[in-house]
């Protein structure tokens, strides 16, 4: 720890932890904690940036904290500082500071006042980690925090159906981005044989040397990065999540989905550009994706008749253009464009309720004329088609269901024969036999030895698929998730003779949190509640404490950086060979489904309208 950089992460983290201890009703204390945190952060950051620019603005990188180390593997926190993260940090810090002041009054008397500021500070901690990250692993920590805090902010009004539904939807898109990032990490392990820092990517020779021998891996890695960036920055085909994220209080929508969160994909591209900038095909792809997104989302923005969705789609279109700028190598312009777009959309969203006063007055004083638009020049048939498609968001939202989630659900339905009893018996038998095989590896043939990891990871995937689609039995769904992790560990164990300690590291957090989660569900049932997964139950209304414990358990089980499992997850991946793309994909997929299954369980049990208080709840459609 040789510079001030970690301080910029520690301040919001400290603020977040402090905020957890503020009393629920103490609005002033709460907003003060948030404000002091952000004001300190911004002031320090501003001072530091000026100092840094003054002193020749030399980018630098530092290895800050080694979390885990073995002969062949090192997991470390690495931070760096250059103009890219300076701009991102300053913009983020400034906007979040303004929003904390804004929300102090705006959220006055809202029942989730404390929760809002907690989540805000949590989000901001994740943001600073992601932005200052010097390697993919560190970035991933921040990334995960952003994902979960986004989920919590969108579902801020957790007693209503639509916010929860949309929060799950957005989370699942984020999860697709995560799979890209996990696979990118895996590929880069194999490409560089280390947890490479972004800084080293600037070394053209190094990158070039590795890419020459593994050009396919290089392209794949770039594609994974692009996938992640596109998902996070609401580019095609993922754009429809952005307007649907506008369910929380206006300031949170403004800052996260109008500005910071949505520009993180751009950030990832900027960060990794030294890596892919020599791959022309990738650059063309980024540019094309940006172009198509800009055109399609603009057409959608043009027909929006609600203020927030209009701003959301215009913002996505501008990000498409930023993608083009990046692909052309105009990185400085992209940075300016990012900041400008972030400020503009934040402000537009914050003043969006004023649109009624302003436009009605405008309308009152100007004659009603149907505005001619360029679409009027098109043949009627074409223009109608264009209008209808834009209104239907080019079926993008439906397509997500049709091609992604529905097949998964269909596959899950085929697994209905798996009753709790059968599952447990099956698990015990296969797992024990697998374990016995592992103990007696010498007896196996070469072919079997190759095949087994794949087999076990497939079993794991099937289990989690069942968990994801289970409609009735909560306990079963929860147990299946845990079982999946066990199988993943088993599968990888065949791969390499790594020490048991890696497995322990990996499974420790999962088993602990899995146990806690199981007990929470049990407790809920003991209180006489009938729970299934067919509908939302909204139990956070009745048992806020249980909800909090359960979400901690969920985070632990899904490999969130609060237990050693997080490091273990990365470690496990490093044991998948470069040649085992199938295994990597399966394992990555089961991680993703895992996260989804867990968040689904949480949402179904604890969120949505409370089952027992129909007379206090909003309509489903509200």
């Amino acid at each position: 720890m040789n510079t001030i950089l970690p301080v910029f992460i520690l301040i919001p983290l400290l603020g977040f932890v402090t905020s957890l201890f503020v009393q629920r009703k103490a609005e002033t204390a709460m907003s003060r904690v948030a404000f002091v945190t952000l004001a300190t952060h911004f002031t320090l950051l501003l001072g530091y940036s000026v100092w840094w620019i003054w002193n020749g603005h030399v980018p630098f990188d530092e290895k800050d904290l080694i979390i885990y180390k073995s002969e062949a593997y090192e997991f470390f926190i690495d931070l760096c500082f250059d103009k890219i993260n300076m701009v991102y940090m300053l913009t983020g810090s400034f906007l979040v500071m303004l929003v904390t002041i804004y929300s102090r009054y705006y959220l006055h008397r809202e029942s989730g006042y404390k929760r809002f500021f907690n989540t805000l500070l949590f989000f901001y901690s994740g943001y600073t980690i992601a932005i200052l990250a010097g390697n993919l692993e560190t970035l991933f920590i921040g990334w995960e925090i952003l994902g979960i805090s986004s989920f919590l902010l969108i579902a801020f009004y957790r007693d209503r159906y639509l916010p929860v539904k949309n929060a799950v939807k957005v989370f699942s898109i984020y999860r697709i981005g995560d799979v890209g990032l996990i696979l990118a990490m895996w590929l880069s392990h194999h490409l560089f044989h280390e947890n490479i820092t972004f800084f080293k990517l600037n070394n053209y020779e190094l990158v070039h040397e590795h890419l020459q021998t593994h050009s396919l891996t290089g392209v794949l890695l770039s594609l994974m990065i692009l996938l992640t960036a596109a998902a996070k920055s609401a580019q095609l085909p993922f754009s429809t999540w952005l307007p649907r994220a506008m369910e929380g209080p206006t300031p949170s929508s403004a800052i996260f989905y109008g500005s910071l969160s949505v520009h993180l994909g751009v950030f990832l591209l900027l960060r990794t550009s030294p890596f892919w900038e020599h791959q022309t095909s990738v650059r063309v792809l980024i540019g094309l994706l940006g172009l198509v997104t800009a055109i399609i989302t603009t057409s959608i923005a043009r027909v929006q008749s609600s203020v927030k969705s209009q701003i959301a789609y215009s913002s996505a279109a501008q990000i498409g253009i930023i993608f083009i700028e990046i692909s052309l190598g105009w990185l400085d312009m992209a940075l300016i464009h990012f900041a400008g777009n972030a400020f503009l959309r934040t402000y537009q969203l914050l003043v969006s309720p004023s649109v009624v006063t302003y436009l009605i007055r405008e309308q009152f004083y100007s004659p009603i004329l149907r505005k001619k638009t360029f679409e009027d020049l098109l043949p009627k048939r074409v223009s109608h088609t264009l209008y209808m498609l834009s209104l239907k968001e080019w079926n993008l939202d439906n397509a997500m269901y049709r091609y992604l989630w529905n097949p998964l659900k269909l596959a899950g339905k085929k697994l209905d024969f798996m009753t709790p009893k059968r599952s447990v018996i099956f698990f015990i038998i296969t797992f024990i036999s697998g374990f016995l095989l592992l103990m007696n590896e010498s007896l196996m043939s070469e072919g079997l030895h190759h095949f087994l990891p794949f087999l076990f990871s497939t079993i794991g995937l099937i289990l989690v698929l069942k968990s994801f689609t289970e409609r009735k039995n909560v306990k079963l769904a929860w147990m299946l998730v845990i079982m999946n992790h066990c199988f993943t560990a088993l599968a990888i164990s065949f791969n390499e003779h790594y020490t048991m300690s890696h497995n322990v590291l990996y499974l420790s957090g999962i088993l602990l949190c899995g146990g806690i989660g199981y007990l929470t569900i049990r407790r809920l049932r003991l209180k006489g509640n009938n729970i299934d997964l067919d509908r939302f139950h909204g139990f956070s209304f009745e048992y806020p404490l249980l909800a909090f414990i359960f979400i901690l358990a969920c985070l632990g089980v899904s490999g969130f950086p609060i237990t050693p499992t997080f490091v273990g997850e990365d470690l496990i991946f490093s044991h998948i060979h470069e040649t085992q793309a199938g295994l990597a994909l399966f394992t990555a997929l089961s991680f993703i489904l895992d996260g989804l299954a867990i968040i689904r369980i949480y949402a179904r049990i604890f969120m949505g309208p409370h089952v027992k208080s129909i007379y206090d709840m909003g309509y489903r459609s509200s």
């Binding site: 906007l95 804004y102 307007p243 279109a317 253009i321 436009l359 088609t385 129909i614």
Partner: protein, 845 residues
């Protein structure tokens, strides 16, 4: 303050099971639009009784029926009532009296025990939605999720008043025809199912055909439509309202509830075809296992609702009793007439109640009056450059007059942040890199130092005070837009006479008479119209005050008035003014016309007014948690003013929250009472109106206007999720006419939680100072008015002008009432204001 749209039901909802065996399309549609929320688009936000459809029933019966059928929460919960009891806000004596009255004296013990400790059966599922729930039960289809997003988006785009950059094509046709034209003439379709598309294009549809396909058995048709429309009552209500009042949209649209339903049925058909395949599913009634409870069948009384009735009445009478005790106890001080300094007329609005008190305190020789804030002049207003007309009188009135603003119009400022160019590719690119950085600065400045902007609504912007108005008609009685421009001499005199007589101001005029309209200022507030004067259809009352003053100052009018027995001395001058209830600022009109002598007096009175405004701001500030009410006055007032221009302030003012009373009588009834801004005050002198002629006009307006406001607050408070708009923080403006949560939610009519959270849900008590028999005769002479009283949607007490005896209306009869509360004298009301945030008891001051 606002008014209601009166509604005459065609027929009442039958309560027998068999009544709908024969589907009567017209009747069902009519009933539907009657029961759906009747809130107009945001710019015309008008308070009304949320459960207006139930008004022909007694209040408590209506609560029970509405709750059982539609699942509304219609009162506080039993736990909340018990909490109120513990806090003493429901007093024990009142509770016992109410039990005795409702249940009989002998049951007091039993019922008290039950109320305070018993268990009540609640939480049965509402009847609405039961039939349609079978889609999920029988077919595992989530119909709402499949149909709503498309339906909402389509109707919102069709109705959109100016948000979208590319407007709905073919919007000059009606809703269904424009959709059909698009469906016919395009490469894509609104539907997945070819069959449905064909049905739609060929236009051979009737409601009954579609219902037969979907529902099957005719006896369920009506219930199905209710289920379907009440799954998104916000949108359906908006469609129904626009159908009946197309003029409420500036850019009008042709849409009917029937068309809307037709299209929704088609989407449902499409959803089923998509989910199960054409021909592979059967109508709902042939697959559902058990028939749902009939929505329309009678709702039997239950013990729970009896408990609600008793608790609610006890809560109300615990408060009323204090007020009545205060009124009776009042020392009647007749002020010596010759010492009158000035007179001032205000709106009856509860927000003016405290300002009048302070004004009288600052200048004990002044006299104040209350009357509906359009001051008896009804007209349409057309500002300079205005392309449309604004109605400036209560909503149900249809004026024949036009007042035009002429001269120099105020320049309208432009804010590029609302420009459509920010949403285009190139424009967005350019603007985000330039204006974007300006936004950051602007946001920063605005958060630290809030100032007004082109986007804020301001009561002073409603009319340019330097422009002149065409108030007097010329001899030819010019017509414009089908309206007469200005009023003739006779018409002006009628209005001035009517106004003065109704408030009892017919002699002893002071040299200066102020007529103070009111409006409000706010920013980032889609509900801004609800903050203005409802007697002016949700606009500021500035034009009206200026118009009535012109008339009252008119030489010809005064001559004619003199013939009718009202002698206004030449030395008396009427001055129009506008009170901004958010900022607590007052602005005066046409003061340059005052004689030097009057101008000097005016200066003195205006100073008194400013002091009163300061103190009024202070009293209001006690409700604002973050404002320290003991701060120095000028700073405190500035802080209150800042709320009206702060982007982040969801409570610029608290509107009508806590309203509970409407007092019709002379000022000396209430002059020395501290009523905590909870009362509408309408001046009235029984001596001038022995027959109750003016009284009828007052009550004809006061019952629906004040009662409507009161009940909208009541229902938004008790069920903020279903009858109110929920928290306004996540609201998203839809098409400039409504708000929804997020982007694909239902419209949210009603009041947001920020407006009602300090409101105590009690019905309005109207107190009239006149002889009981006159009052009784008066209210019974108009059926619509009588319904309000007879069915107990408002409570009524009369106070005998001579004996000061009280009579309360119970079971359609006036019976004597003797208050038992003790009203305390508050020595230092300022101190109370500085220290307390909750509702204050009645004090004598």
């Amino acid at each position: 303050m606002s008014t209601t749209v009166s509604f005459v039901p065609l027929a009442t909802l039958p309560e027998q099971e068999s009544a709908y065996a024969q589907f009567n399309e017209d009747l069902t549609l009519h009933e539907l639009s009657h029961y759906l929320p009747a809130q107009a688009p945001l710019k015309d936000f008008i308070h009304h009784n949320t459960l207006h459809a139930f008004q022909q029933k007694k209040f408590f019966d209506a609560l029970r029926i509405a709750s059982t059928k539609f699942g509304y929460k219609v009162s506080l919960s039993i736990e909340e009532y018990r909490e109120y009891f513990k806090e003493g806000r429901i007093n024990e004596k009142c509770l016992e009296e109410t039990i005795a009255r409702r249940k009989g004296k002998h049951l007091i013990g039993i019922w008290k025990e039950k109320l305070l400790n018993g268990n009540f059966q609640t939480g049965a599922l509402p009847r609405i939605g039961m039939l349609r729930a079978n889609w999920k039960k029988c077919y595992q289809v989530d119909m709402d999720s499949m149909v709503h997003p498309t339906l909402f988006r389509l109707v919102c785009s069709y109705l959109d008043q100016g948000i979208s950059s590319w407007q709905f094509p073919l919007q000059d046709r009606n809703f269904l025809n424009s959709l059909r034209e698009m469906e016919k003439n395009s490469f894509t379709s609104f539907f997945k199912s070819k069959r449905v598309s064909k049905l739609f294009v060929e236009n051979r549809l009737e409601l009954t055909d579609l219902l037969s396909m979907l529902v099957g058995d005719e006896k369920y048709f009506s219930q199905y439509l209710f289920d379907q429309q009440f799954a998104h009552q916000g949108w359906s209500g908006m469609v129904a309202t626009i159908e009946t009042q197309p003029q409420t949209l500036i850019d009008s649209r042709k849409i009917t509830l029937k068309d809307f339903i037709l299209f929704e049925l088609l989407l449902e058909l499409d959803a089923m075809d998509r989910h199960h395949g054409v021909g592979k599913w059967r109508p709902l009634s042939s697959v559902m296992k058990e028939a749902p409870t009939d929505l329309f069948s009678a709702v039997p009384p239950t013990e729970y609702f009896d408990a609600v009735t008793i608790f609610q009445e006890s809560l109300e009478w615990s408060y009323y009793d204090e007020v009545l005790a205060g009124l009776v106890m009042q020392q009647r001080r007749q002020r010596p007439k010759h010492m009158k300094s000035f007179q001032a007329m205000f709106c009856i609005d509860d927000r003016e109640c405290s300002l009048r008190r302070y004004l009288e305190h600052e200048d004990p020789h002044c006299e104040t009056f209350g009357t509906p804030g359009f001051f008896g002049v009804e007209f349409y207003f057309k500002p300079i450059d205005g392309q449309h007309l604004t109605k400036l009188c209560p909503a149900p009135v249809n004026p024949k007059y036009l007042i035009k603003e002429i001269g120099q119009g105020a320049k309208r400022e432009v804010d590029p942040h609302f420009s459509k160019h920010t949403h285009s590719i190139y424009g967005g690119w350019l603007i985000s890199q330039t204006l974007g950085f300006w936004s950051a600065l602007k946001l920063f400045v605005n958060i630290l130092r809030p100032t007004g902007s082109p986007a804020s609504a301001s009561s002073f912007k409603h009319m340019n005070k330097d422009a002149s108005l065409t108030i007097e008609a010329d001899e030819k009685l010019i017509q414009e837009d089908g309206l007469q421009v200005g009023f003739s001499l006779q018409e002006m005199t009628d209005r001035v006479e009517g106004l003065l007589k109704s408030i009892g101001m017919v002699k002893d005029f002071a040299p200066l008479v102020y007529v103070v309209g009111h409006g409000a200022s706010s920013v980032n507030n889609p509900h801004y119209a609800a903050y203005d004067c409802g007697a002016c259809s949700g606009r500021a009352g500035s034009v009206n005050s200026r118009v009535i003053c012109f008339m009252a100052n008119h030489r010809g009018v005064r001559n004619m008035l003199a013939d009718r027995g009202i002698h206004i001395p030449d030395t008396t001058h009427f001055v129009g003014a506008i009170h901004d209830t958010t900022r607590d600022d007052v602005d005066y009109f046409d003061v340059q016309a005052l004689s030097p002598e009057l101008a000097t007096m005016h200066k003195k009175y205006a100073a008194a007014m400013n002091r009163a405004l300061d103190r009024n701001a202070k009293e209001r500030s006690r409700r604002f948690e973050y404002v320290d009410s003991s701060r120095p006055m000028d700073r405190l007032h500035q802080e209150v003013r800042n709320r009206s221009v702060s982007l982040f302030e969801p409570r610029p003012e608290l509107n009508h929250a806590t309203n509970a009373l409407c007092i019709v009588g002379r000022r000396n009834l209430t002059e020395h009472l501290f009523l905590d801004r909870r009362s509408f005050l309408n001046s009235f002198d029984y001596q001038i109106d022995p027959e109750g002629k003016y009284l009828l006009n007052i009550l004809k307006a006061a019952a629906p206007v004040c009662g409507g406001i009161n009940l909208e607050y009541y229902f938004s408070r008790v069920d903020n999720q279903k009858l109110g708009a929920g928290s306004k923080l996540p609201h998203n403006v839809m098409g400039l006419f409504g708000v929804a949560n997020g982007i694909d939610g239902d419209l949210r009519p009603g009041l947001p939680s920020q407006m009602i959270e300090v409101h105590d849900p009690v019905r309005l008590l109207i107190i009239v100072e006149h002889y009981p028999d006159v009052v009784m005769k008066t209210i019974q002479s108009n059926d619509a008015t009588w319904e309000w009283f007879r069915n107990e949607w408002v409570n009524l007490v009369t106070i005998h002008p001579e004996t000061h005896e009280l009579f309360v209306l119970r079971n359609e009869e006036l019976v004597t009432y003797e208050p038992t509360s003790k009203v305390h004298y508050a020595e230092n009301i300022e101190r109370v204001i500085e220290t307390r945030m909750d509702n204050l008891p009645v004090y004598s001051i």
